[in-house]
Amino acid sequence: MSDKKKTQVEEINRNMYDIRNPEEYSYKTQGLTEDVIREISAQKNEPQWMLDFRLHALEVYEQLEMPSWGPSLHELDMDKIATYVKPKTDMKRSWDDVPEDIKNTFDALGIPQAEKESLSGVGAQYDSEVVYHSIKEDLKKQGVIYTDFESAVRDYGDIVKKYFMKCVPVTEHKFVALHGAIWSGGSFVYVPKGVQVDIPLQSYFRLNAPGAGQFEHTLIIVDEGASLHFIEGCSAPKYNEINLHAGCVELYVKENARLRYSTIENWSKNMLNLNTKKAIVEKNGKIEWVTGSFGSKISMLYPMSVLKGDNSKSEYTGISFAGHGQNLDTGLKVAHIGKNTSSVMNAKSISKDGGACTFRSSVKVTPGATGAKSSLSCESLMLDDISRSDTIPANEIETDDVVFSHEAKIGAISDQTIFYLMTRGISEEEARAMIVRGFASPISKELPLEYAVEMNRLINLELEGSIG
């Protein structure tokens, strides 16, 4: 075996994500002050309760401290962040009505085509506002609501008021409070009792403006016995300034309901991705998280499953790929509260070219959560000696009637495995490539097909050389 040749796992090809349009907007705010919040609320013509909510969140934001753990966020200066960038268009129901440069961007990202081929509804956000939203007629007829969040506040005020930031309260951490103060855009989904949405809905979030923040709010309610697969995609072109993403996702999975929430995160490498996601799962309900984290300069992202109802379930499948200049700190939090709940986590990470991946998790089994079962597995692959890979899994078990297990592995590609494959007539290069593909495949097979293809392209192996 040659020690010198190295298989290169290529840097992610970002050409299609790096399309930049000239910065054009109809309205823009800078920084975070009470006046800025009043201006945003006025622009949106919001009800008073929402303005009051925003102002309260600002107070909480000012009281809370920055995290004392995880990647350094010293580059974040809220005074320099464009907190609200209203694009030069209103929301449209037809792609033909969307301004050409914006439409071209989403065309390049493949959104309209995916809508035709494999989605039952699409929301497309550009900077701070949703510019396109659609849903298939048959879903509408079944009572499914899928709309932009501003319209939801206006048209479904009572239901929004009941659920908005109750799952993720603004006191949870500093960036949730920030979100509560300046949220803009996002999607609202309601799936009525017993309705099975067989074809996924997808919201795509595109941030074009340099130095801007995106603070979209996603609220999904899957009512009793219903099911939904929701896909979230996000990207931005690269600039030299810091961009900020502090979205918030609140998911309510009612009795016997099922929700799969898939995310492909492909922000540019000047993005601080400080997103918050949480699902509350009722009796016999199930939440499935499928996550691919490839972009951003820094990510701190830990979706949370609150298994409130008896027999509720959570599954997490995630992969992170950190290259040069990236620090991806991701994982999952689970709280077992109901009886006989179960959680399964399967996480993988690949670090190369000085990139850093951290898997961080927390499993909490509360005193009444008897019969809880939790199993967690994470594997990390280091592709060179200038990168970093950490595993930081915490657990807190407060009842004896529980089965909890966690295992983690870290390492490079084993010579023994390569040797085994070579004894079967496979070349060394192909053997190494097979191992990396095999490492990622349990995750890619959980992704929607078009995203699995995209992920395989993102983790593009050059078979000439070798890893290790």
Binding site: S380, M382, I397, T399, E407, A412
Partner: protein
């Protein structure tokens, strides 16, 4: 009364996980007087290979991690027992050294600093046992053991905590391992209202090997906070951490285990395993088994598990005519056995088994 924050993990995680450190509320640092209840056995045979100096002036302590700077300062300024142990190369044939500290009403507070060095190729086994001879008074132990092993040396260090369940046991070990040296730390942690321990193994040079094997048993309101840290920077170094415990009543345990693969530790191997048997619905187990890695060609693994005694094991034993209570005891003992059998001193092993009766 004051608040003291101890035993920080090498890398912090979210505060809401309740495991970055442990806070002692309403704690008063005691006045440190004399401590005279120390016994060192096998001194006769020590003369040839091992030097022990009870009056040594030890250098300023500088552990790689510690329980807190305040406790390290107390050891530097107010230690009431200093021991310097030097193991020479011809100590290989000597009997193990047995050091007994007994805390009682006249000697309720022990602040001890122990420095252990081993020459090249030297071998030694050292037992250090903390006992309580009173159940009325709150006892206090703050200790630091600094171990430096030269090339090819080997040391087995046994720490046994038999303090009463209203005591404070605050203990730190910091071991630095040179080329091809071997260090085995075996600890049995049974005493203390709070038993807060910080064991560091620094595998600095190539080929060094270290193990940390811990058994703990918590009852009543006991709290165990265990912080094991293995820092690997030498090539082909190996480390293994194995922590097994059981919690009754309202007992709580925090296990923080870190294997840090640092730059230069190519082909290093590290593994950690933790299991906590929960024998009461009110017991609480927290765990944070961390792997940190900045080196490419390493092999690291950890596993952590918690739960009650498996029903099928109980059932199997009961079908063999064993009562449920006896079957439970057998299963718990079987968990601990691989670590307890490392204790070669039969008298001490029996004493441990006796104290572990439940």
């Amino acid at each position: 009364m004051e608040k003291m924050i101890l035993n920080e993990t090498p890398v912090r995680t979210a505060r809401s996980f309740h495991i970055n450190n442990i806070e002692l509320k309403d704690f008063t640092m005691p006045e440190i007087g004399k401590f005279e209840n120390i016994q060192i056995h096998n001194c006769g045979k020590l003369a040839r290979g091992i030097e022990i100096d009870q009056n040594a002036k030890l250098p300023k302590p500088s552990p790689s991690h510690s329980l807190s700077q305040e406790l390290t300062n107390q050891i530097e300024l107010n230690a009431n027992s200093n021991l310097k142990i030097k193991v020479n190369v011809d100590a290989a044939e000597t009997e193990p050294i047995m050091i007994n500290y007994t805390l009682d009403n006249k000697n309720p507070n022990l602040v001890n600093h122990i420095s252990i060095t081993a020459d090249e190729n030297a071998k030694a086994k050292i037992y250090i046992v903390y006992r309580a001879q009173t159940k009325q008074n709150v006892l206090y132990h703050n200790g630091l053991i600094e171990v430096n092993l030269a090339k090819n040396s080997s040391m087995d260090l046994y720490l046994v905590n038999f303090l009463s369940d209203i005591s404070y046991n605050l203990d730190c070990v910091d071991a630095n391992l040179a080329e091809n040296s071997k260090f085995n730390l075996i600890t049995v942690d049974l005493g203390g209202k709070y038993s807060i321990t910080n064991y560091n193994v620094n595998l600095v040079k190539s080929g060094a090997e270290g193990t940390i094997n811990t058994v703990y048993l918590g009852k009543k309101d006991q709290v165990f906070d265990i912080n094991d840290i293995a820092s690997m920077s030498g090539e082909k170094t190996k480390v293994s951490i194995n922590v097994q415990g059981a919690l009754f009543d309202n007992a709580k345990k925090n296990f923080k285990g870190t294997i840090d693969f640092r730059k230069g530790c190519k082909k290093a191997k590290g593994q950690e395993e933790e299991f906590c048997m929960l024998l009461s619905p009110k017991a609480v187990s927290r765990g944070l088994p961390m792997l940190l890695c900045t080196e490419e060609a390493v092999d690291g693994a950890h596993s952590s598990a918690a739960g009650k005694i498996e029903g099928d094991k109980l059932f199997y034993l009961m079908t063999r005519g064993i009562s449920e209570e006896e079957a439970r005891k057998l299963i718990i003992k079987a968990r601990f056995q691989p670590i307890l059998q490392l204790i070669e001193n039969e008298e001490l092993k029996n004493e441990v088994l006796e104290k572990m009766r439940f």
